[in-house]
């Protein structure tokens, strides 16, 4: 207005003016207030309304919001709590509102389950630090013992003067979320452990050559792939590999399996490649590799073993097929090359006296080695110890120092060195407990026989059996020849004896016939008929021979009958007849002490016996008379009747046959009679 001091009236006017303004403001009839530089709109009604609505909204929000809200006084006393707080904390609002925020009734836990000190809680921190504190996770033990996990944020309430009025705390119930997170964490840990402890490598290949993921196995075996490209990690290359089976899957988009044998760590892997879409949608290849080295090696070893066993089986057949010792030794030498990978082989046989006997070898340039057993040689050691010796390495100077224990030989074998041999196996050839010799295998490679002992022993055993068989065969052949010669000698001496016996028999026969001219030729003719009958009946040759001998001397006993009695015409006195009847007994007595291969004495003794027991000298009957005697009896009767006797003229053959036919089965054996009749009637038999 003016710089002059205002008059009382003026002041009064201004006061009235001010009062009027206040009054009109109170009556809410003002739209705007004019200031020095601007106009301020005044909308009190709307403001009030807005405030009311706002308050109502806030109240509604406070009452209905899912999050718990509490208002805290600076001393921590809880002033107000909303229904969500009641629900989450499991307490009545009245209970909450009487508690202090840090009162001991609360049981508050840290996420790891330990008690949470009050100074770590969101409200006290917000008030102490005078700034909002967010996301403090804690567990509140509810009255029923269950735990509500809550995520608390708090902000201090500070008035215009900067004084702390309290704090507001909000919290969300994250119990379910925490449980889900714990489950998820458990799953994640399990998955992580699965991948990290998987006994093989797992990695994700990106088309840009980076490795998106690799498990611990991969890192341990091939190196850390972070910030590096696959070919750098695996091969230390500067550029991608020309060929990569893993990358092929990016083109084919189909899974594939393969074996990776040329690997950075020298192992063999079975690989499984599969197209893989990463969580960000990018196309990758998932590769899983499992180490199958041991299995492959075992398979290879088994395959080799099967091949060797098959060869060994074949070898045993070939070796044992031959029985000639030289051929067998040559076969062993030849087979050793195929079956036990021996470049040069020698076999040396040792006899029971410990001397070398026979050998075979295929050492080049060393034909026909004269094998000798030297005092300190390997052969002697093997022969004595009967142990195999495997020498994995032969020194440049040809020195062999096999690890054979106490008393083992150390020796140099120049021919072997000259042949370029680097390793040797010496094996005893044993059959049961008997040593036949030594088999030597030589290889141009060091350690060729290492760990092969079971196979080598089997081969040596097969070889030993073949050698033994050949030797047995040779011995048998020799024995057979000897036996044959002995048999021939025996046969010859038998023939000689036979001739001597026959001579004796003929001499005896002649002695009888000289004294009795009537019976001269009788014994020969009886023998002729008896042998014909025996032949007809089917007697064995040996028995017929005995019958022949017996026939020739069957009347030998007559040698003791006086010649006048024998040749006396007419009837004989009883005494004379008695002398005649003694002749079988006397013949028997003469013959019984002589050694014949036939029962001559008994045949002679029984040739006058008859089936009905009427004969002499013993009066034997049917079953007691031997067959030769029965045949002789029939032949004797037939010939006697057909011949002239001093005491009667000769009868006809017909009469003789009539006689035996009538007494068939009574005096004479029926079968013998039948055979005799057949001879005369059918076969036209005549006496010579």
């Amino acid at each position: 207005m003016s710089d002059e001091k205002p008059t009382y009236e003026e002041l009064e006017a201004r006061l009235a003016e001010a009062e009027a303004v206040i009054e009109v403001l109170r009556s809410q009839q003002v739209d705007a207030i004019i200031g020095e530089e601007h106009v301020a709109l005044v909308r009190l009604k709307e403001l009030e309304e807005a405030l009311r609505v706002s308050e109502e909204r806030l109240r509604s929000l406070f009452e209905t919001m899912a999050e718990g809200v509490i208002l805290i006084a600076p001393d921590g006393q809880i002033i107000q709590a909303n229904p969500a707080a009641e629900r989450i904390l499991g307490l009545q609002r009245s209970e909450i509102e009487t508690r202090n925020y840090i009162a001991p009734e609360w049981a508050i836990l840290c996420p790891d389950g330990t008690p949470m000190p009050p100074e770590e809680m969101a409200g006290p921190r917000a008030m102490k630090e005078k700034r909002p504190v967010k996301d403090v996770v804690m567990g509140v033990v509810r009255p029923d013992g269950s735990i509500s996990w809550i995520n608390v944020s708090a902000a201090p309430i500070i008035d215009e003067a900067g004084e702390l009025e309290g704090a507001v705390g909000t919290f969300a119930d994250i119990t379910e979320r925490k449980q889900a997170e714990e489950l998820l964490e458990l799953e994640r840990k399990r998955l992580s452990m699965l991948l990290e402890t998987f006994p093989g490598y797992i990695y994700l290949q990106s088309p840009d050559y980076s490795v998106r993921y690799a498990n611990r196995y991969f890192v341990e075996h091939f190196g850390e792939p972070k910030e590096r490209l696959c070919y750098e990690v695996l091969w230390g290359r500067k550029e991608p590999c020309e060929v990569c089976p893993t990358f092929e899957v990016f083109d084919t988009k189909t899974p594939q399996v393969w074996e990776w044998s040329q690997t950075p760590d020298g192992r063999i892997y079975f690989i499984y490649d599969h197209p893989f879409i990463d969580s960000d949608g990018s196309e990758l290849v998932l590769e899983i590799g499992v180490d199958i080295t041991d299995r492959k090696w075992a398979e290879e070893a088994l395959k080799l073993r099967v091949e060797q066993l098959a060869a060994l089986s074949q070898a045993s057949q070939v070796v044992t097929a031959s029985l000639e010792l030289d051929q067998v030794l040559a076969e062993i030498v030849s087979l050793a090359g195929r079956v036990v990978s021996s470049d040069y082989t020698s076999v040396v046989l040792v006899d029971e006296a410990g001397n070398t006997s026979q050998s075979a070898e295929n050492l080049p340039g060393v034909p026909g080695i004269e094998y000798r057993i030297r005092d300190k040689g390997l052969t002697r050691w093997i022969v004595r110890s009967r142990q195999p010796a495997i020498i994995d390495e032969i020194g440049e100077d040809g020195a062999m120092t096999p690890d054979l224990g106490e008393g083992a030989p150390r020796f140099v074998n120049p021919p072997i060195v000259e042949a370029g041999v680097k390793s040797v196996a010496g094996l005893p050839l044993m059959v049961k407990d008997r040593l036949l010799g030594v088999l030597y295998l030589h290889s141009l490679h060091p350690g060729a026989f290492h760990g092969q002992l079971p196979l080598l022993t089997t081969f040596a055993n097969q070889a030993a059996i073949a050698v033994e068989n050949a030797r047995l065969y040779q011995e048998t052949q020799r024995e057979l020849a000897e036996r044959k010669r002995a048999q021939e000698e025996l046969r010859q001496s038998y023939v000689n004896l036979q001739k001597a016996l026959e001579g004796t028999v003929h001499a005896l026969a002649s002695a009888v016939e000289i004294r009795d001219p009537y019976t001269a030729g009788h014994q020969r003719r009886v023998t002729q008929l008896a042998c014909a009958i025996a032949n007809e009946i089917g007697l064995p040759e040996e028995q017929i021979e005995g019958l022949r001998m017996a026939g020739l001397i069957h009347d030998l006993g007559k040698i003791s009958v006086p010649a006048e009695v024998l040749s006396k015409p007419g009837r004989l006195h009883d005494i004379e007849y008695g002398l005649i009847k003694a002749h079988p007994q006397i013949g028997h007595d003469i013959l019984k002490d002589l050694d014949f291969p036939w029962p001559l004495a008994h045949i002679v003794l029984q040739h006058h016996e008859r089936l009905d027991g009427s004969g002499y000298p013993q009066g034997l009957s049917d079953g007691e008379i031997m067959l030769e005697a029965r045949i002789l009896a029939v032949a004797d009767v037939v010939e006697a009747m057909a011949s002239h006797r001093p005491y009667r003229p000769a009868h006809s053959i017909e009469n003789a046959l009539e006689e035996i036919s009538q007494n068939r089965g009574v005096l004479y054996d029926a079968e013998v009679v039948d055979a005799c009749l057949k001879l005369f009637t059918e076969d036209g038999f005549t006496f010579e």
């Binding site: 003016e17 009027a20 303004v21 009054e23 009109v24 403001l25 009556s27 009839q29 003002v30 739209d31 705007a32 207030i33 004019i34 020095e36 601007h38 106009v39 709109l41 005044v42 909308r43």
Partner: protein, 105 residues
């Protein structure tokens, strides 16, 4: 904005010169405008000159008249100058202040 009823002036007699300060079309200002227009028509017939000033358009005019709030009605003439605040809804009071009722004449 000025609203002048020239007929009234020319007709002779005492002419009322009124000046109303308003803030745009705010509720009290609108009400004040309606109230003053009705009063003028009813009480002063054609003997008045009404000038309406919108403070949003003419801020300086308000300062020059020492206006603190809107709506404010100033009786410029005949003297003495009278200022009435508010939306002029209390007709009796307004007429009295403008010396249009017998009591105060």
């Amino acid at each position: 904005m000025k609203h002048v009823n020239t007929e009234g002036v020319e007709a002779g007699g005492e002419t009322y010169h009124l000046r109303l300060f308003v803030a745009g079309d705010e509720p009290n200002s609108r009400q004040a405008r309606e109230n003053v227009a009705r009063l003028c028509e009813e009480q002063m017939k054609q003997r008045y000159e009404l000038e309406i000033v919108d403070v949003f358009e003419d801020f300086q005019a308000a300062l020059a008249d020492g206006v603190l709030v809107t709506p404010t009605l100033i009786l410029v003439a005949p003297p003495p100058r009278v200022t009435v605040l508010g939306n002029l809804s209390d007709t009796e009071k307004v007429l009295s202040a403008l010396r249009l009722t017998g009591g105060e004449r």
